[in-house]
């Protein structure tokens, strides 16, 4: 019947392009929010600089170059600092979703006619953007301070992206289960610090006892640190294919788990 005007006519199902558009929209939202929170922007930039500058200098006197594959300890640590920046940056991002839920901001997004995978992924790319920004800053410094090649820096950014996607996913997944920040902090401390220290980010893992070596090998962060160190200062233990493969698999698993976690959210 023509009287049934198409002005408010039939609703069309959500297409794949609509889902991509939604991911883009959620990404824009995260970037806008991030850019308005000046302290967050400043700490995102300052924190990695402090690590390379102060901590690296302090440790470099205690660790011999023979243990670091013949490079200066600060250069050796550089890839580790990038990994660390990504890991701890994503913690805060995960915390923000607890806040979002408290404020009911997420409710509007959760009732939108888009899949939870898109909502989750939109948040993930939003959070990963912050890490990418930090990565760009650090790697730019690396070009001058540690003789990182432009190509190496680009490849390192790829590792930043993979690590960031996985850890924003983990942060969001944990955040989706928490009502307040308290318990959240504890879990992240128990999860994040061991992952970080067992990744070889700060020290060479060549002389560790066998049982620790097993843990280091099982830790996905190890492969990110290895890739980052290889692409920045040329010291790496594994094949890049292995590094990338492990990280891709890790990303897929964390995204799948996160999407499941978001599906159960109301």
């Amino acid at each position: 019947m023509s009287a049934e005007a198409p002005r408010r006519g039939a609703v069309v199902p959500t297409s794949f392009l609509d889902e991509l558009y939604a991911i883009y929209a959620l990404w824009v939202r995260e970037v806008l929010v991030f850019s308005r929170e000046k302290p967050r922007v400043i700490s995102a930039i300052a924190q990695p600089l402090i690590w390379v500058g102060l901590v690296g200098t302090g440790f470099s006197s205690t660790i011999p170059q023979s243990a670091t594959g013949g490079v200066d300890y600060r250069a050796y640590m550089f890839g580790g600092v990038i990994a660390q920046t990504v890991l701890f940056g994503t913690v805060f991002f995960g915390m923000y979703i607890v806040w979002d839920r408290k404020q009911d901001v997420l409710k509007e997004v959760l009732v939108a006619p888009i899949s939870r995978l898109s909502i989750f992924f939109g948040k993930v790319v939003g959070g990963a953007t912050e890490s990418m920004l930090q990565g760009v800053i650090l790697l730019t410094i690396g070009l001058f301070a540690f003789h990182v090649t432009p190509l190496g820096a680009l490849a390192a950014l790829g590792f930043v992206a993979l690590l960031a996607i996985a850890f924003v996913s983990i942060g969001l997944t944990i955040g989706s289960f928490f009502e307040s920040f308290e318990g959240f902090q504890a879990i992240l401390s128990f999860l994040l610090f061991p992952l970080f220290f067992l990744s070889g980010a700060l020290f060479p893992t060549g002389n560790l006892p066998a049982w620790l070596t097993v843990l280091v090998r099982l830790n996905p962060v190890t492969y990110a640190v290895d890739g980052l160190r290889g692409t920045t200062v040329g010291v790496h233990q594994f094949d890049y294919a292995l590094d990338v493969g492990v990280l891709l698999g890790f990303c897929l698993v964390t995204i799948a788990v996160g999407t499941w976690a978001f599906r159960r959210m109301k």
């Binding site: 609703v11 199902p13 901001v105 409710k107 509007e108 959760l110 009732v111 939108a112 006619p113 109301k266």
Partner: protein
């Protein structure tokens, strides 16, 4: 499936819709048929099951049993299409306070796949409708409660949904803002034919806005009709008397339909054409301390159907 969205068909239809949380029956056997372009009110105290019912209709909560369709789509089998068909203004504000009004609307438009070429114009149109054009680029954090509400209504309308759900749209707002929002809702219907389902525990709101009202109490619809007919169904005007006169004397009067003892020992009479018979009533009562005669309100209707006043219980209790 073949006959969806026909002319004159209900745009919202529920059959024995039911939601149980543990031991609590939040909504039970809800049967509603809401027509296109109607403003329909769900009236009840906090915790009566209004929000639960809305949440089932917008696919946030799965029903325990029963069926519901919105815009011809089944809420359980076609949730995405239902979501595309509805705009929602939640009871608790859910505007993103870190963004500006304009950014909130653009975000919403993108999430609902509003075509890029239409989005900008629609955002401006709705900002104008809710009179927020001047403040469109302010961060929402700085907005008053009324402004946030208006923005939320604009947001709910941005993707031009055939149905708009308003859950307590004027909760916590001052009277002037409340009337403002009522006028938007009315304009909406006349200008775009949007069907509006609103929940409220403000009697006046239901009376002033709704074409039809369902009174809901303890999860059940106890009465459903136009406000006028609901009030007429009481069978007369309300007369309240402060008197020591015996009930029997008044009950004997032929035009007194009903007599109850209200709080504080007052007598509450339902009287046909009360203004005509007032003298006779006072005469029958003998000594009268105070008297009040008025047309029945939805409050009286509510009392009639539920046995308690709308504000007697549930105040302060979180609504589901």
């Amino acid at each position: 499936m073949g006959h969806r969205r026909g002319m004159g068909q209900a745009i919202i239809s529920t059959r024995k819709l039911r939601k149980v949380f543990g031991d609590l029956v939040a909504a039970s056997d809800i049967d509603l048929e809401i027509g296109r372009g109607e403003i329909f009110g769900l009236l009840g105290p906090n915790g009566a099951g209004k929000t639960t019912t809305i949440n089932m209709l917008v696919t946030i909560l799965p029903p325990t049993s029963g069926e519901a369709t919105v815009n011809g789509y089944d809420v359980q089998r076609e949730p995405t299409l239902v979501r595309k068909s509805v705009g929602i203004v939640f009871q608790e504000p859910s505007i993103d306070t870190a963004l500006t009004a304009r950014e909130n609307l653009v975000l919403h438009g993108r999430l609902y796949a509003v075509p890029r070429r239409d989005l900008k114009a629609r955002v401006e149109e709705l900002l104008a409708l809710v009179e927020l054009t001047d403040r469109a680029d302010d961060i929402v954090k700085k907005y008053s409660g009324g402004m946030k509400r208006r923005l939320e209504i604009a947001r709910g309308l941005l993707h031009r949904p055939p149905v708009l759900f308003l859950d307590e749209p004027t909760l916590g707002l001052d009277p002037a803002t409340r009337e403002h929002i009522w006028s938007y809702i009315r304009r909406l219907r006349t200008e775009s034919g949007t069907t509006v389902l609103l929940t409220t525990h403000y009697l006046e709101e239901a009376d002033v806005l709704a074409d039809r009202v369902a009174i809901i109490d303890h999860g059940t619809v106890v009465a459903l009709d136009t406000p006028e007919r609901l009030k007429a169904s009481l069978g007369g005007d309300v007369v309240r008397l402060k008197t020591k006169a015996p009930r029997a004397a008044l009950e004997a009067l032929p035009f007194v339909e009903k007599l109850e003892v209200a709080d504080g020992g007052e007598l509450r009479l339902t009287v046909r054409e009360a203004s005509k018979h007032l003298a006779a009533i006072i005469q029958a009562a003998g000594e009268v301390e105070a008297v009040e005669v008025r047309r029945p309100t939805l409050d009286d209707v509510f009392l009639q159907y539920t046995g308690h006043g709308l504000r007697d219980e549930g105040e302060g209790e979180a609504s589901e």
